[in-house]
């Protein structure tokens, strides 16, 4: 059969995506309001060395992880809901994570340890919303696009209102912290925080990659997967836990960054097709590259003023979403 040809194509796609992620990461490290000299930085000369170690590198790593995780969460939610419009943002999962994080910030849990109360609260918020969405939108095992998007809209509004309510209660200083966080930015994290993020995300990503073939069947239908020997409730559970962790762990550190999980998976499907065994790893790598480049853009477009990266992705993603709704190739039926 055509499998050897396909496998060669898959290897090429993975290589391309990995190279893209590495190049984007390098660009994010080198380009900014101060043009960094890698040579000077490696020789340990100030200020290049400090800018590299303290600011650019941790920030670039966070951008790569966040972009990869959000994009992978998009692929995962799309398979679980059988809908190319399902993403952490459209489902309201990001809002749930944001609400969890804001509650934690308001309670003053933010400071200190790397695996913070904020992260845990964000993951919990994401998980609660995901369960809500599945319950609200599913009707006897089938999930309609309209139900999905409307429940997402409703949850987004409710979480947003609750966040504003909390922000109004907590006084000026905390309220400012909340507002700043909500804009969705990539402030350079501590290395210990990055280490924790890595420790959480690597096993989650591997679990998602490993189940690629199962996601294919689940993306077709519940009965389809069941009659081909899969336990759909088990897969749904794995998917929801993985999706909550991907969304929550990242959102706790960056604030909500919209539409990464929509743009990258959709563009990839047009290129590579729908098989999750190739789609998931490539979505992760190219999502990482995408957000790193968005971050470069956000830091340079109005330099030295920084535009929050969430603003850039939202401005790119909004029109893309509308195009998907209108285009035939988007394959979206409401």
């Amino acid at each position: 059969m055509a499998n050897s040809r396909r496998n060669a194509g898959w290897i090429a796609a993975i290589m391309f995506s990995a190279v893209a992620a590495i190049l984007a990461g390098l660009t994010a490290v080198l380009v900014g309001s101060h043009n960094l000299s890698l040579d000077r930085a490696i020789k340990g000369l100030a200020p290049d060395r400090d800018i590299l170690i303290q600011l650019r590198l941790p920030r670039a790593l966070l951008a790569l992880w966040a972009g990869g995780a959000l994009s992978l969460a998009g692929v995962l939610f799309q398979a679980l809901m059988r809908n190319p419009l399902a993403t952490p943002d459209t489902l309201g999962v990001s809002s749930g994570a944001a609400l969890g994080a804001v509650v934690a910030i308001a309670l003053g849990w933010s400071s200190g340890s790397a695996i913070s109360g904020v992260s845990i609260a964000a993951c919990a918020g994401a998980a609660i919303v995901l369960v809500l969405v599945v319950v609200i939108a599913s009707n006897r095992g089938s999930i309609s696009s309209v139900g999905l998007l409307l429940s997402g809209v409703t949850i987004n509004i409710m979480c947003g209102a609750t966040i504003v309510f909390i922000a109004s209660m907590v006084g000026f200083l905390k309220s400012f912290a909340v507002a700043h966080w909500l804009m969705g930015g990539l402030d350079a994290p501590e290395y210990s925080t990055l280490a924790w993020l890595t420790a959480v995300l690597i096993p989650v990503c591997l679990v998602v990659f490993w189940h690629g073939r199962e996601w294919n069947l689940l993306a077709v239908g519940d009965t389809w997967a069941t009659t081909r020997g899969l336990s759909t409730s088990r897969l749904l559970l794995i998917g929801c836990v993985a999706g909550s962790l991907l969304t929550g762990a990242v959102t706790a550190l960056t604030g909500p960054i919209a539409f990464v999980g929509l743009i990258v998976p959709h563009a990839l499907r047009m290129w590579l097709g729908a098989d999750h065994r190739i789609l998931a790893p490539c979505a992760f790598l190219l999502g990482a590259a995408f957000l790193a480049l968005c971050d470069v853009f956000s830091r340079t477009i109005l330099a030295p003023v920084e535009v929050p990266v969430g603003v850039i992705t939202a401005l790119l993603g909004g029109p893309f979403f509308i195009w998907m709704l209108k285009s035939k190739r988007g394959g979206v039926t409401l």
């Binding site: 059969m1 190319p84 069947l217 009965t223 069941t226 020997g229 729908a274 098989d275 394959g331």
Partner: protein, 256 residues
Amino acid sequence: MIPLFQLVNAGVRYGDAEILRSVSLAFSAGEFVAIAGPNGAGKSTLLSLLAGLKAPSSGVCRLGERDAHAWNRRDFARRVAVVEATDVTSFPFTASEVVYMGRMPHQKGMYETPEDDEAVAHALQRTGMMPFRDREFRTLSSGEKQRVLLASALAQSPEVLLLDEPAAHLDLRHQVELHQLLRELSQGGLLVVAITHDLNLAAAYASRLILMHKGRIRADGPAAEVLRTSLIEEVFEVHVAMHHTPSGQPWMLYGE
């Protein structure tokens, strides 16, 4: 012969509605069973009992020694394949990717084995879908989709093939070819159970015809015995003129 499937007084009810009433049946390897009956007769419910997707509210439905719905799904899927109308439209899977999904219960690891390739190629050939294998599934016509779904079930290498109106959307030639294929499969040792609305084709190809009405089995046997004018008129509430083809098959005209 020991039956593959056995139903004993199987009933299904939703609240007050009795969909299936005390159905007792046995199915053996090598049979081609057509299930017919008016809408709401309980045909699809019977099929989902056999597929292990539903548990009977009363009585039993067994595959081998075990209740159908109590089987480990993977073991069950190696023996029983189901063809039902499915919309695989949300994502750009190709026809051959859809067929490969039938190999899931035989999976060893993340990638397909040469054994899988062989089963898929065979299934594509038998359904005549080889030329369509690289086409995107959602761009196919309804009839082509139907045949890909059948190929996917065949790729499962099952002992039992359950089909819900497999001839819907098929043109005349493909209706005939489908029935020929199902007959060949049953002669090769498969148990084939298909819901159908075409009594004439069922009579021509199936080895056994089951007529359902209001959740009960009204008649069960060779088509020539089941297709009696009075029975068909009563169950379907239409006028029937019974004829015979030159080879002696019953051939009915419905309507005025």
